[in-house]
């Protein structure tokens, strides 16, 4: 691809939402580029197996089939693709900087659709940074995209439907789930059933997963969490605690996979200075959007779970809404078409929202998880910042997240606070007796992902370096 190519629209993220938005724009004649860090479409939910895997396995998962469908659709609609490209910066105007295996590149676009999905949420506990402890969502990537189980024996902990999905796939691929540690109670699940039925396909999947788990007699610890995990030579010792009674029990296992839900990705919208709001049931901080997924900045649209968590099926429709808004704003479709089309989609989305709300409840973070964070527990694993470090800075007058970042270095590591911001904010709000929204969010900083310097600078002669005015003497 050439340097500085202009597009009408750049879609960042080739998951279900990004793909549906890209197709809709391309079908109306816009020049569309879709960019993704992975080597193909699919996003995290339908992640494509690595290209080098020639004979991945006999099994063809439904996720893999959906992914192939998305890629075919992209090709059919003559959408420009930049797979294997990591977007590291988006600046006003819009300029999108990305890098691949060799170099960096900059594209220009009049409009940006952000479809960057979510990150995994893990509420820290003593020992969570030990080797052998992985994220539940990371585990789904190993399973769906690599058809690989992290170890023969595994304990799954956290909350929400991901617990069941991962358990199902591990058993399917011949592994042994030694226990499921669920912070929700059985009653929480039953309560959610009514709403979950609103999305029959997902509900059916859930029943399928649960049946397999029950058939395999996997012990389920409801109302329970991991109090502590310690790493030994050959195994991990996991201390399980009942949330209500405080009763503890220890188990040993090969791998512990933990996940407490998902957090919308807001790196790009924060970087561009768009407005954000806090919505716990949508996953935390999200870009402020109108009903048609327009952000507070002209030409910037946000779709999929990154605009608030509502799941993969809704993501596709959200992609349609965002692209219709864009087409209408660009005066490519008339108001009538815009209204009719979006109305139809909103009807469907309403149903998914009920489902999303039920999932959000199962995904919510019980206070006991946060209370389990000890003074010595590491919150920011990039910089080894403990809860005690944060409390000390607060004691000396720090009052908001950005100030705490600068004073303690939390969030300054390669992950830029993606992993720890949620828990640190909760700890700070608790200490300052205020709401999470009162202490702000981390200012967006480039690069969104660490950029290898050699690729950023490329091959150059000394006299080719941009000339700027000398400093005054």
């Amino acid at each position: 691809m050439n340097y500085k190519i202009k597009y009408d629209v750049i879609v960042i993220g080739a998951g279900p939402s990004g793909v549906s938005a890209a197709i809709n724009c391309a079908q109306k004649g816009l020049q569309v580029l879709i960019v993704d860090i992975s080597h193909n479409t699919g996003g995290q939910i339908y992640r494509a197996p690595p290209k080098s895997y020639k004979h991945i396995s006999e099994k063809k998962l439904q996720e893999n089939k959906t992914q192939e469908y998305l890629s075919r659709e992209i090709k059919k609609n003559n959408i420009f693709t930049a797979y294997n490209h990591t977007v590291w910066q988006v600046s006003p105007g819009f300029k999108v900087d990305a890098f691949n295996d060799i170099s960096t590149i900059q594209w220009h676009a009049k409009n940006i659709i952000v479809a960057t999905g979510t990150y995994e949420k893990i509420i820290p506990f003593d020992g969570w940074t030990n080797p052998g402890i992985i994220g539940l969502a990371a585990c789904t990537v190993m399973l769906k995209s690599h058809h690989f189980i992290p170890s023969q024996k595994i304990i799954l902990a956290g909350n929400g439907p991901l617990l069941l999905l991962v358990a199902y796939y591990i058993i399917e691929f011949g592994g042994e789930v030694e226990a499921i540690i669920d912070t929700s109670s059985k009653f929480d699940w039953i309560k959610s059933t009514v709403s979950l039925i609103s999305n029959p396909k997902n509900f059916k999947d859930g029943i399928k997963w649960l049946t397999k788990i029950l058939f395999n007699k996997v012990p389920i610890y409801s109302n329970s969490m991991i109090a502590k995990a310690t790493q030994h030579n050959e195994y991990i010792k996991v201390k399980i605690q009942n949330i209500n009674t405080g009763k503890q029990e220890s188990l040993v296992t090969g791998t512990l996979a933990v996940g407490h839900g998902l957090i919308p990705s807001t790196d790009i919208t924060r970087l561009l200075g768009a407005k954000h709001i806090y919505n716990e049931s949508k996953g935390g901080w999200i870009a402020e959007i109108d009903d048609y997924l327009r952000s507070s900045l002209d030409g910037l649209y946000v779709t999929g779970d990154g605009a608030g968590i509502s799941g993969a099926i809704a993501a596709k429709d959200k992609g349609l809404i965002a692209s219709l808004a864009l087409l209408y704003d660009e005066k490519i479709i008339k108001e009538k078409e815009f209204k009719i089309k979006t109305k139809k989609i909103f009807k469907r989305l309403y149903k998914y929202e009920l489902f999303a709300k039920a999932i959000a409840k199962l995904n919510s973070t019980p206070p006991q998880l946060l209370n389990n964070i000890k003074d010595e527990t590491i919150l920011c694993r990039c910089e080894d910042i403990t809860k005690k470090d944060i409390l000390e800075a607060i004691d000396n007058g720090a009052k908001d997240l950005n100030q705490l970042k600068s004073w303690t270095r939390f969030g300054m590591g390669p992950c830029q606070g993606r992993t720890c911001q949620y828990s640190v904010a909760k700890v700070v709000a608790e200490e300052l007796k205020c709401n999470v929204e009162d202490i702000g969010y981390l200012t967006g900083r480039s690069p969104i992902r660490p950029v290898p310097l050699d690729r950023a600078i490329g091959e150059f002669d000394y006299n080719e370096i941009t000339k700027i005015e000398a400093a005054p003497l």
Binding site: Q89, S91, P92, K95, D97, T104, Q106, L272, G273, A393, N396, G397, A398, K399, D400, N402, Q403, S406, W407, R409, M412, G413, P414, Q416, T443, R445, S446, P447, P450, V451, P452, L453, D454, A456, I457, F460, Y462, I465, T466, I468, A470, A471, P472, L473
Partner: protein, 365 residues
């Protein structure tokens, strides 16, 4: 409504240093900030303590500032990392060699202990630098501070000396009557003070407007780049002849690339954005100076807003036609000399005989 002896508007390095010195001398000081202590340029600058980038006329002040930074455990706090390093200023071409000679000579005349050294000598001092340099300028008076810790260190010290800090105090009005200044905030807070100091950094023109004084203050949005932690790749603080690079490796292994390459930003909108071509230019220059840097990855880029007057010299001293009103700011490489400049202004306010004529605001009125 509260009362104080002296109100300082702006909690950056200048305001905070002045506040600390005044409080140590027994004054009741209140420090106001629109956001929080050292959250602006003072907390996000590169923290370079070099003579190679200092304006010649400011060298005597920067030297004093450097000495203060090297002894922060005595007067500020032990909670801030300060490192003494040798400073090397590199010339890669013949033109740069000429420029380096000229500039070093003038800085030397103003008291900087800088000497031009050969390529061989420079490579002995820091074997990591590019072998293709023409020559270098050497100065033993160099080093750096972890600027992100500035706010933490000053907050602790100010608290200890009973300085009252009011965060999120955005001043919207200043009234003068009966020998008192009444300062009003956006949220309706009110503070009465006998004396007033304006130290609002890049917003200095805005603060002056509240007193109906018009001075042009340029806002320079400058980009900074920091790498991930990496094994040791350099021993010195590196700068270049035209002053557009500062480079050093912190104790934790991260390398900070600075030099004041412009980005996008405005003081009023409180928004900054990067300019890719300038990021890449800055990175290229850094990797040219220290080739091993290429192995690293950029972890973060951010911007700081530097204030500059029309002659790029500071404004420090009394405000004419006002009683007991002072100003401090727009100090080029202000982080290095800030603690000393603050001390000077405090001395002036306390009645000592201090010559600040070089920085008099009258030259702009």
């Amino acid at each position: 409504m509260s009362k104080t002896d002296i109100a300082i508007i702006g909690g950056g390095i200048n305001g905070a240093s002045t506040a600390l010195e005044l409080a140590k001398n027994g004054l009741k000081v209140t420090l106001l900030d629109k956001h929080s202590i050292c959250k602006g340029a003072s907390g996000v600058n590169a923290g370079t303590l070099t003579m190679h980038m200092t304006r010649a006329q400011l060298i005597p002040y920067a030297k004093k500032g450097w000495e203060l930074w090297m002894s922060t455990n005595k007067w500020l706090s032990k909670d801030i990392d300060v490192e003494k390093r040798n400073g090397l200023c590199l010339a890669f071409t013949e033109d740069e060699e000429k420029l380096l000679n000229e500039r070093s000579k003038i800085r030397k005349e103003y008291g900087a202990d800088i000497e031009i050294i050969s390529k061989k000598e420079a490579l002995r001092i820091d074997p990591n630098i590019n072998k293709n340099i023409k020559c270098a300028a050497f100065c033993a008076m160099d080093g750096y501070v972890s600027a992100n810790q500035t706010g933490y260190a000053y907050s602790k010290a100010l608290k200890e000396h009973k300085v009252k800090i009011l965060n999120n105090f955005e001043v919207t009005e200043i009234e003068f009557s009966e020998n008192n200044y009444t300062i009003l905030s956006k949220t309706g807070e009110k503070l009465i003070s006998k004396k007033l100091i304006l130290a609002t950094g890049v917003h200095l023109n805005k603060a002056l407007e509240l007193l109906n004084i018009k001075v042009n203050i340029k806002c320079l949005p400058q980009q900074l780049i920091v790498s991930e932690r990496m094994p040791k790749v350099m021993d010195t603080v590196i700068t270049v002849a035209n002053g557009k690079l500062s480079l050093k490796q912190f104790k934790n292994g991260t390398v900070l690339i600075g030099g004041g390459w412009p980005g996008i930003g405005s003081a009023e909108e409180n928004f900054t954005a990067t300019k890719s071509e300038n990021l890449i230019g800055n990175m290229r220059l850094a990797c040219h100076a220290i080739p091993k840097l290429k192995r690293s990855r950029v972890a973060r880029v951010w911007l700081g807003l530097e204030a500059e007057t029309d002659d790029a010299m500071p404004i420090i001293g009394e405000l004419p036609d006002f009683n007991n009103a002072y100003i401090i700011g727009s100090i080029h490489s202000g982080y290095t000399s800030g603690p000393y400049m603050g001390k000077l202004l405090a001395k002036k306010i306390l009645g000592e005989d201090v010559d600040l004529s070089l920085f008099d605001i009258k030259r702009f009125l």
